[in-house]
């Protein structure tokens, strides 16, 4: 194969990896925000992505314009996220991490169960935001919607960063994540902070779901695998580190795409889980983990 074709092939794999990776990154980011605020590993994170896509599909099918439908979907996901915290996580206050994990797993099964009753069990699509004509770059092609996904993910990261660094509320979230007791002592309402974190996470997930549905389609059960993959991305980047989560997610997407392209597509879905194990065996802190692995 000549150089140009090799290059085109490489780029094609990279585009694929970055698009999928951006979604993993957003799921991982959602995981991290909740984990930092409350120590909860939220296995229902993937359901927010599902809700984003499915609610937008359902509402826009009812004749509501797409942007409005998307807004409604995000609001609804935030509502579900807040409800998850107030109705399921908070009442179990003081429970062991195992119990909290199982509660979120129960929540994800519940949300999925309700979704298949409210919506249906079919796959659905959304129209692409800017048409379906792919851009050609050095022989590789990329859909306009992929740029939306990557751009959207980038925008979310920038906005979040500004929120954490520039606003009082954001700083309070960081303070509560660093040391809950100290935060409470200086007058930060940690309960509100946790609810806020669940809401933000849900919003991020829903936006990811809306952005990616025109490419990947959606149905009531797309959440489970996304949650596992996003979670692997978060582990890879270092549990509890937002930037690490984003990098871990992107890296996972890229490794999957290159693995499928250059090696074999048979074990593509296994890559994420091999990575989890490798991270655990070699460097439990991940790429950009926190100082301490133990969280007592």
């Amino acid at each position: 194969m000549d150089g140009f074709a090799t290059m085109a092939e490489f780029l094609q794999f990279a585009f694929s990896g970055l698009t999928v990776g951006a979604v993993y990154a957003l799921v991982a980011l959602g995981f991290t925000i909740i984990y930092n605020a409350s120590d909860v590993v939220n296995f229902a994170q993937g359901e927010f992505v599902m809700l984003g896509g499915m609610v937008t599909v359902a509402v826009s099918a009812a004749g509501i314009p797409l942007p409005l439908a998307a807004l409604f979907a995000v609001a609804l996901a935030v509502g579900v996220g807040v409800a998850l915290h107030r109705l399921a996580i908070e009442p179990a206050h003081g429970a062991s991490p195992v119990v909290l994990i199982i509660i979120t797993i129960g929540a994800s099964i519940f949300i999925r169960g309700v979704a298949q009753i409210v919506f249906d069990r079919q796959f659905h699509k959304l129209p692409s935001f800017s048409g379906d004509a792919p851009f050609v770059l050095f022989g590789a092609t990329i859909l306009p919607q992929s740029l939306w996904v990557m751009g959207g993910a980038g925008a979310i990261v920038v906005v979040l960063h500004a929120f954490f660094e520039r606003t009082i509320l954001g700083k309070a979230v960081l303070a509560a994540a660093a040391n809950r007791l100290a935060a409470r002592l200086v007058g930060i309402d940690t309960r509100l902070i946790m609810t806020l974190s669940f809401g933000i996470s849900a919003a991020i997930g829903a936006v990811a779901g809306i952005l990616v549905t025109p490419i990947t389609l959606t149905s009531y059960n797309v959440g489970t695998l996304l949650a596992l993959k996003g979670f692997a991305g978060g582990m890879l980047g270092g549990m509890g580190n937002p930037l690490g989560a984003v990098l871990g997610g992107l890296l996972l997407g890229l490794v999957e795409a290159f693995g499928a392209g250059y090696l074999s597509s048979t074990y593509k879905d296994g890559i994420a889980f091999v990575m989890i194990l490798v991270v655990l065996f070699v460097s439990p802190r991940g790429l950009l983990g926190r100082r301490s692995v133990e969280r007592v």
């Binding site: 590993v41 399921a88 009442p91 179990a92 429970a95 062991s96 991490p97 195992v98 119990v99 994990i101 199982i102 509660i103 797993i105 129960g106 929540a107 994800s108 099964i109 519940f110 949300i111 999925r112 169960g113 309700v114 298949q116 009753i117 489970t224 596992l228 979670f231 692997a232 582990m235 048979t266 074990y267 879905d269 296994g270 994420a272 889980f273 091999v274 990575m275 989890i276 194990l277 655990l280 065996f281 439990p284 692995v293 133990e294 969280r295 007592v296």
Partner: protein, 314 residues
């Protein structure tokens, strides 16, 4: 709690009585089948309970070991000409070995990294079983040769009811003995506080590792039983959802309670049979039950009920 009516003996007595008496009220083979499925799931749950209830760790990929046991009796006799019962042992040994290899580095870390590690590992096992179709029959599954003892083929719900019931009683007996042994006490100390246990001179990581290995062996044997009973097996048996189901059995019944694991297994196995009218709502209900149980009945059903009764008695 000493003496003839110790908790251990009572639990065993209850189990033996259940296994012996239930057939008297069974109107048909269908009930034998459902009950046998309960005993088989209960065996895996009792094993997982050693890890969760005694050692305070959770495995989110436990169905992987279940799958190893199941496919051992599917592949061994068909492809390697081995006897089924040897394959049960081989599967159990393989599961224990894998658990040891996976658990050793992870369990040195504090916290719940085992949950994450086993999650990844469980999905990988299911993936291998799906992909290596030449050996495993792929996603469509593969048929399993019947168990034969002295040239007699063992099949049918009634035979398997008694086999699985006996194995469960034996497994429960082992788990209960472990609970009362020095190792069991060490494990429970560890559940209460790892730091205190370590200070007391207990090798925390080693005890957790053995609990994990034991739990894997239980699951593997349960998997072998199911495969031989059904005569057919698919990779879903090793999947993430089945892992979650096993964990849910333990927590619903009550972590740390052997009887609880059996009750949890009975509930989650019979629920889909009871809810056939509400098929649409089955998933939502299951999720709701898991959440509610964890929030309001954090001890689990059996310990929770025991405590309630104790309170009302005093």
């Amino acid at each position: 709690m000493r003496g003839i009516f110790s908790k251990r003996r009572m639990t065993l007595l209850v189990l033996v009585a259940l296994v012996a008496v239930l057939p008297l009220v069974f109107p048909s083979g269908y009930y034998y089948r459902v009950a046998a499925l309960v005993w088989i799931s209960a065996l895996a749950a009792v094993g997982l309970n050693i890890l969760m209830g005694y050692a305070g760790q959770v495995s989110l990929g436990h169905a992987g070991f279940f799958g190893v046991g199941a496919y051992a009796v599917a592949i061994g006799p068909a492809r390697l000409g081995l006897a089924s019962w040897i394959c049960i042992l081989l599967g159990a040994a393989a599961s224990g070995g894998i658990a040891w290899l996976v658990g050793r580095p992870i369990l040195r870390l504090k916290g719940h990294y085992l949950a994450i590690g086993t999650l990844g590992f469980g999905v990988l096992i299911a993936l291998v079983l799906t992909s290596e179709a030449k050996w495993t029959g792929g996603p469509d599954g593969t048929s399993v040769a019947r168990l034969a003892v002295a040239n007699m083929r063992i099949s049918g719900p009634t035979a398997w009811y008694w086999i699985s019931g006996f194995v469960l009683v034996f497994g429960a007996w082992l788990a209960l003995n472990l609970e009362d042994s020095p190792a069991g006490r060490a494990l429970r100390a560890l559940h209460d506080s790892e730091i205190a246990a370590a200070l007391g001179g207990i090798d925390v990581a080693r005890h957790k590792l053995w609990a994990f290995v034991l739990a894997a062996v239980y699951a593997s044997i349960a998997g072998s039983e199911l495969a031989l009973f059904d005569g057919f097996i698919t990779p879903d048996t090793a999947g993430f959802l089945h892992s979650i189901e096993l964990v849910a059995m333990v927590v619903l019944g009550g972590m740390g309670s052997v009887l609880g694991s059996v009750v949890g297994a009975a509930l989650l196995t019979t629920l889909p049979q009871l809810l056939t009218v509400f098929v649409e709502y089955e998933q939502a209900l299951l999720g709701l039950i898991i959440m509610l149980a964890m929030i309001f009945l954090r001890l689990g059903i059996v310990p929770g009920v025991q405590r309630m009764l104790a309170r009302s008695a005093s």
